[in-house]
Amino acid sequence: MDDLVEGLKAGRPEAFERLVREHGDRIYRFVRRLVGERAADDVAQEVMIRVFRSIGSYRPTGRFESWVFTIANNLCIDHARKRRPEAGLAESAGEVPGGTAPLEDLEAREERLALLKAVERLPLDQRRVFLLREEGGLSFREIADLVGCPLNTALGRMHYAMENLRKALKAHGMR
């Protein structure tokens, strides 16, 4: 990770490629579940470019991932201020390649879609904490610092998010 940061600070294009390769998918999914599929490409791209351009302000007192997702979170907030969130975020999630899936695959796909839709419907503060944890891999201490709330509040939001997801899956007759 230090190599990556050093490469980015030196402005090396290969370091930027590595950033995209190693973090691009997670940044994209995080952004997509917060701002919607239509705007996700633009916002995710902006996140990566902003990371590259702002790397000079990164101080290695915290983890690099936490800093990256702070930028992603801030840009999602900026986007939300400009636009209303769109509906149908999880339409293409969990696609089954080939199109001739066996019955159990279809059931699994339906279950995955139901979960993603439930994530999409979580209240924003719960969704943000859930995604920072599950996509960003941040600790709850890091999440609390990033969101600007006490640790117990971050934990409470995650707990409520889990409860809501459990209820949503049960409402679909699953589990």
């Binding site: 490629e17 995710a44 995955r112 979960l115 993603l116 995650m158 889990m162």
Partner: protein, 133 residues
């Protein structure tokens, strides 16, 4: 409550000795732990979208300022044109100068006085020359 101590471990799949001891006697927390782990597993399976945008193209800082610089240069050019031709579009070059004859009335009183003074000067010059011979 005893259960509140284990919220962080339950939502993040902890496996400490304290937690194991607690869930052995707490069916509710045991169920929570199992369900939350299943939700996380299911989410990892479901969240598989890939970033398909490739590596974004980076422009140099100068490139991003180029449109502003071009606009500024254009504004300066327009200003120079406007200041160079205040009466509108540029005029064709002036034609070669033409000398025109101006007819003055030479015999008014002012001219007569000048003529008399000139005659006096010439007369004075002739006297000086005659005396010097």
């Amino acid at each position: 409550m005893e259960c509140d101590r284990f919220v962080e471990e339950k939502v993040s799949g902890g496996d400490s000795r304290d937690l194991r001891g607690h869930v052995a006697d707490c069916p509710a927390c045991a169920r929570d732990l199992e369900d939350y782990a299943e939700i996380r597993r299911l989410y990892r399976e479901a969240s598989v979208e890939r970033w398909r945008g490739g590596v974004p193209r980076l422009r140099s800082p100068w490139a991003s300022r180029l449109p502003v610089a071009a606009a500024a240069a254009m504004m300066v050019g327009i200003l120079v044109l406007l200041m160079g031709s205040p009466s509108g579009p540029p005029r064709p070059p002036d034609p070669a100068p033409v000398f025109t004859r101006v007819h003055l009335a030479p015999w008014d009183r002012g001219e007569a006085r000048i003529g008399k003074a000139m005659d006096d000067v010439w007369r004075l010059v002739e006297n000086i020359e005659r005396n010097s011979r």
